[in-house]
């Protein structure tokens, strides 16, 4: 048991130099620019969300600053017909899958309509309960398997979630039935104020898969190319009926846990700084500059494009009138039971009174 051998992949170093020739599918600049664009978009989305919260126009929000490569890498290799079952910090993957930024703002702004995605209509909404979504992913994957569909469920959760029994139960059944599901741990080193080392004595989180009888591996979660490659392989593996994989993406939560948290209370800035040097976005820019002549002008154009797109989304979000209070009842059941119709009338009446009064 001592010689446990967990594979680790990094392709692009923090300085933007490939550590080895990139795999064929990433050797073209178009793909890298696309990955880069989505990471910049995610960061722009994120900054705007934090700003909206700051000005009281968004609820508590969980920033993904520093983790953009994980979500973009996942989103890049998933197919439209695959299903994402995300945690609450996977905005980058959601955006890359076609969830609209204004939908995400609506959700984080406290409106259920934010989870009525127009894009990936079978993707799950975020799971605000840590780990509770892992069994759903197993169920979705079982649905694919039973129907003989070449689709994969992708379940993403944090390092903290790996301590939860429901995550273990889901992995165990996935291994048992060789379900087409890929489990991805966004190991950002922190679960709120609890550091990774206080979650488990397991040397890696990837080895959690050993208990479930399948393979786990690690990848540099700040290297979008590595993430895309490793997750892509896992998807192919699962899609062809070979069962699940667990991928631990090593990254870092550069931001506070949420916009109502203050990480300074529990972690030292000196721990954070080195991770800025591993910024997933900077390293791709360096790579593009060095290999594809990515210019300041192109950079500015991209930032402008993303800025405009996100500003428009924020405007669309802010312009969305709230649902009427009776909306509480609109999707509670397929058909509203009679005694609830009376409660619905109560709500409507109470609101009228308020409006009148």
């Amino acid at each position: 048991m001592s010689n446990l051998d967990i594979h680790h992949t990094t392709l692009l170093g923090p300085d933007g130099h490939p550590l080895a020739p990139l795999p064929a599918e990433f050797a073209n600049h178009e793909t890298i620019r696309d990955l880069y664009r989505h990471m910049v978009l995610a960061r722009t989305f994120d900054a705007k969300a934090v700003a909206l919260h700051g000005s009281g126009r968004l609820g508590t929000y969980a920033s993904l600053l520093g983790q953009e490569a994980v979500g973009v890498g996942i989103g890049h290799v998933m197919r439209p017909e695959d299903v994402l079952v995300p945690s609450f910090r996977e905005h980058a993957a959601q955006l890359r899958r076609g969830v609209r930024p204004e939908e995400l703002y609506l959700y984080w702004g406290g409106d259920e309509r934010g989870s009525a995605f127009a894009g990936p209509t079978q993707d799950f909404p975020v799971s605000a309960t840590v780990g509770g979504h892992a069994p759903h992913a197993a169920g979705v994957a079982l649905a694919f398997k039973l129907r003989g569909e070449a689709r994969v469920a992708v379940c993403v959760f944090g390092d903290g979630a790996t301590s939860k029994g429901d995550v273990y139960e889901a992995m165990n059944v996935a291994g048992l039935w060789q379900l087409p599901v890929v489990f991805i741990v966004t190991n950002n080193q922190w679960a709120l104020s609890t550091p990774r080392r206080e979650q488990t004595a397991a040397t890696t989180l990837a080895q959690k898969a050993v208990a479930a009888g399948f393979e786990g591996e690690q990848v540099d979660g700040n290297d979008v190319i590595a993430v895309a490659k490793v997750v892509g392989e896992a998807l192919a593996h699962a899609r062809s009926g070979n069962g699940p994989r667990l991928i631990e993406c090593l990254t870092y939560r550069l931001a506070d846990h949420t916009t109502v948290d203050d990480a300074a209370r529990y972690r030292d800035e000196s721990e954070v700084t080195p991770w800025w040097e591993k910024d997933p976005i900077a390293r791709v820019r360096l790579y593009l500059s060095a290999t594809a002549g990515w210019s300041d002008q192109q950079e500015k154009a991209l930032l402008d494009e993303c800025g405009t797109l996100i500003e428009r989304a924020a405007e669309a979000y802010l312009a969305t009138p709230p649902q009427g209070p009776e909306a509480m009842f609109d999707h509670l059941y397929g058909k509203l039971p009679a005694d609830l119709a009376a409660q619905r009338d109560e709500v409507v009446a109470a609101t009228k009174n308020r409006a009148d009064g």
Binding site: S115, F117, F124, G132, A138, L332
Partner: protein
């Protein structure tokens, strides 16, 4: 028309649902080859194959959570929890996910799943195998809670539960599994999921119960009738949503309400019925609303369980107290 036990009725309904609709799946611990500890799923795996009827690992949270994923994908999972005592680890999934998937996504994803579990005491089962905690589920918005008390009802209600577009907790009174046979047609006809059933009529008192304690309630009503006291006996069937109209109409005639359930009294579902009647039906009441229930104690092990559960004598005594008040 063939006669069936409640257990056979469950099996027939599952069989019918599996046959009618490819989306229906039956799974849980030991439901496949084993056919279920009570044999509710006997023969189903053999008839429909292991892709439709299958065993899961021993993990209740997983069973409920996986059902949600399947349901969101358009399947109609009918999952079994082996005994109600092991259902509590599914509550996180039921409360935080199953009951609100439709709400959270404004109808984009839905959760047409059924979670079946045998419940209740009286069969001298081991520890943790005899509880009645239906009230917990009845408090959860977005769920339906259904409890049959006769073979025919079990058949019709289970079919409707499986066809319902929302999550249903379906609780089976294990004491009644083999207690009696009833003749009914295996015709695929569902029973309404929002209506009480009047099992006996009479104007002197209203008796309300469901599931496991219906037998004692009906027995008490029969004994009272010998003494000239005629009772309405209402079987709630669907705790959520509650058909309070049928209950209040009866109380309007009788002026007296005795509620019977096997669960612990405090915050049991009888409280909700009492509360509704004490609101919309208060002026009909000629006597205090009485509850004959399990006590607010841990369900005792088998040697004392009969002292815990409501019996016909305790129910009769309550009705007599009600009649004596005015």
């Amino acid at each position: 028309m063939a006669e069936h036990t409640l257990l056979e009725a469950v099996n027939l309904a599952l069989r019918r649902a599996l046959g009618d609709d490819d989306r229906v799946l039956v799974f849980g611990e030991d439901v496949g080859v084993g056919g279920g500890v009570f044999r509710a799923t006997q023969g189903l795996m053999q008839a429909f194959g292991p892709k439709r009827v299958f065993d899961t690992p021993l993990a209740e949270t997983l069973i409920a959570g996986m059902a949600i994923g399947l349901a969101a994908q358009g399947f109609r999972p009918v999952a079994e929890i082996q005994f109600m005592g092991f259902i509590y680890s599914t509550l996180d999934q039921l409360i935080n996910h199953a009951s609100r998937l439709r709400t959270r996504t404004r109808g984009r994803l839905t959760c047409p799943m059924v979670l079946r579990a045998p419940y209740g005491g009286g069969v001298h089962a081991p520890e943790h195998h005899s509880e009645s905690t239906e009230a917990l589920f009845a408090h959860v918005p977005g769920l339906r809670v259904v409890i049959p008390s006769s073979p025919k009802m079990a058949y019709g209600l289970l079919l409707s539960a499986i066809r319902d577009p929302d999550p249903v907790v379906f609780l089976e009174p294990k004491r009644l599994y083999r207690a009696a046979k009833e003749a009914f047609e295996d015709d695929g006809e569902g029973a309404p999921l929002d209506r009480c059933l009047v099992r006996r009529e009479g104007n002197d008192c209203t008796l309300v119960s469901w599931g496991a304690s219906m037998k004692e309630t009906l027995a008490a009503a029969a004994q009272l009738a010998e003494k000239g006291v005629e009772s309405d006996v209402i079987d709630v069937c669907t705790l959520k949503p509650l058909d309070v109209t049928t209950i209040v109409e009866s109380v309007a005639r009788s002026g007296r309400l005795v509620i019977v359930h096997e669960a612990a009294r405090t915050a049991g579902f009888g409280a909700e019925i009492a509360a509704r009647v004490a609101d919309v039906g208060l002026y009909h009441l000629r006597a205090p609303i009485m509850r004959v229930t399990g006590y607010d104690t841990v369900m005792p092990l088998s040697r004392l369980e009969r002292h815990y559960m409501p019996n016909a004598a305790r129910i009769q005594a309550a009705v007599e107290r009600s009649l004596a008040s005015d």
